[in-house]
Amino acid sequence: MTEPTVRLVNISKSFGEVKSLENVNFEVYPGEVVGLLGDNGAGKSTLIKIITGYHQPDPGGEIYFHGKKVENLTVPKARALGVETVYQEKALADDQSVWRNIFMGREIANRLGFLDIKQMRAVTQRLMTEHMGFTSKAVNPDTPVRTMSGGERQGIAITRALYFEAELIILDEPTMALSLSETRKVLDFIANIPKAGKAGIFIDHNIFHVYPVVDRIVVLDRGRVAGEFRKADVSLEELIDRLYQVARTGRLEAARGGKA
């Protein structure tokens, strides 16, 4: 049996007095997209920031990549393991050029740390014409991203996640502030993740965006996994019913007693 791309065992995370996550178990397999649902403050962002190495879990939690346990996960370590993330807040530096944003935190440099700007510009130029749909000469790799539209900026954040041979692509509310057609593009992209044999985690408030493109759904509530099920086992209407149930009771069990 294939090992999960990433597996979290018994993960808790506290910020001072606040328990953001409690004993969470979670895994994603190659070739599947998992939808992560839950209310504000359910712990979705904390969970993915543990996978990306931004937060370290409380002692006792374990993280495995492809079956191998990883200690002291950091952002550079996670990126080296193939975790790429499109953050809700896009994680762009507005006054910097496109190429500096594309290569943020993983600049191409020699052993002394001197940058290979020529190559980074060339790669950025190629990505812009091939993947981001910039054909105009007026927008080039040196353009500051502040001058671009919301869709263009999201394009940079997504392209940045794709270019680097990602094994696991995490999308944290990627459709925020996007137009309808831009949202369509993002959803198409997510639907294609399994076809490439890669794994994905998709977080969104909008259940109508999540349901069509995911294989499995995990529901978080107040820091715990309230339940999970395969999409094949539940219709969209049922799912919505159960989410209301979770919001009221913190449990996923449907009123009629069927366990997911």
Partner: protein
């Protein structure tokens, strides 16, 4: 944000040349200001400004704060501020004077002095990043601490640096290259090149810009923001020690009050040069030119026959007008 806008449509005013103008607007602006001020002085006093002596004077005194302004630019681009460098100057130079008197070895004194500056700077950076105290507050505190330390250690008495006179050491830092160019100017030029390369062609510089532009994004994408800040504060401390050395050697005397009077000159060089106090943008070229504007005003005002009492008023006028223009132009091009 217009959702309808299609990315492939060429937007007006985005040709490569206008893009270059936009991204270099501040550098072009400061160059024009510098030329304008020079022209006023040259017309007002051609007998002074068409001879070499005045430029030798500029090159002799500007590096005392210009060297620090260059490295301070890196600090400000990360979105932080350092007010403690004048005090780091004097505590480091106290180390130099003391070691020199005790051992007579100038090389050892130099190394320990630079280490003192580097550590004092890194201490700022560590308190700011690891404890989370804002840099404005931390560096006010360390500023008092180091200057107070010097007062206690020296009791207010200085040290003559006569033992350095007629040594290669002296010639190396404050001698006259070809009998004309002050060596401190050569050092400032070298530091300017080094700072430019670090900032624009090195990973450290990339992380400096990213840290100041959006520290949260930088962290999310794996930039070690804390380390970047500690390094730039360390470099600022190092350069303060170096500047303290050249300023003291020039007068062959270590005054415990060393550094007093440099704070505002240095800061205004950075901000007049177009570096944003909010971080994320700024250039070494801007700071370099601006420090000579600051350095030239004093001598220039006297040379064109105005009273020296005008100096600060004109400083203030130029600085306020320049930063107001920068902000308006900056908003326009965004």
């Amino acid at each position: 944000m217009t959702a309808e806008r299609v990315s492939t449509v060429a937007k007006p005013g985005r040709s490569p040349f206008t893009l270059w103008l936009r991204t270099h607007a501040l550098q072009i602006g400061i160059t024009i200001v510098a030329i304008g001020i020079w022209a006023i002085f040259a017309i007002g006093s051609p007998q002074t400004f068409f001879r070499g002596n005045i430029y030798q004077a500029f090159m002799s005194t500007t590096p005392f704060f210009g060297i620090m302004a260059l490295w301070l630019t890196l600090v400000v681009i990360t979105g932080e501020i350092d007010l403690s460098f004048p005090s780091i100057m004097t505590i480091s130079m106290w180390v130099f004077a003391t070691v020199m008197m005790a051992t007579g070895n100038l090389a050892v004194a130099l190394v320990l002095m630079l280490l003192m500056g580097l550590s004092a700077g890194m201490l700022n950076g560590i308190i700011i990043t690891k404890v989370g105290v804002p840099s404005l507050v931390v560096t006010i505190g360390t500023s008092f601490f180091w200057r107070g330390m010097v007062k206690v250690l020296t009791g207010g008495t200085g040290t003559s640096l006569l033992p350095t006179r007629d040594t290669i050491f002296y010639e190396l830092f404050v001698g006259r290259l070809f009998g004309f160019i002050p060596m401190q100017m050569v050092w400032m030029a070298l530091f300017a090149i080094l700072c430019w390369v670090l900032l624009n062609r090195h990973r450290l510089g990339a992380h400096i810009y990213l840290t100041g532009d959006n520290a949260d994004s930088a962290r999310l994408m794996g930039v070690d923001v804390d380390r970047t800040k500690i390094i730039v504060f360390g470099l600022a401390g190092f350069s303060a020690a170096f500047a303290g050395l050249v300023a003291s050697l020039e007068v062959t005397y270590y005054w415990p009050t060393l550094g007093e009077g440099y704070l505002l000159n240095t800061l205004s060089s950075v901000f007049l040069g177009g570096t944003s106090v909010f971080g994320g943008t700024g250039t070494i070229y801007g700071t370099f030119v601006a420090s000579f504007i600051i350095g030239a005003i004093n001598a220039g005002i006297v040379a064109i026959g105005m009273s020296g009492f005008w100096t600060e008023l004109i400083y203030g006028l130029i600085i306020v007008l320049s930063v107001v223009t920068q902000t308006i132009v900056g908003r326009r091009i965004k």
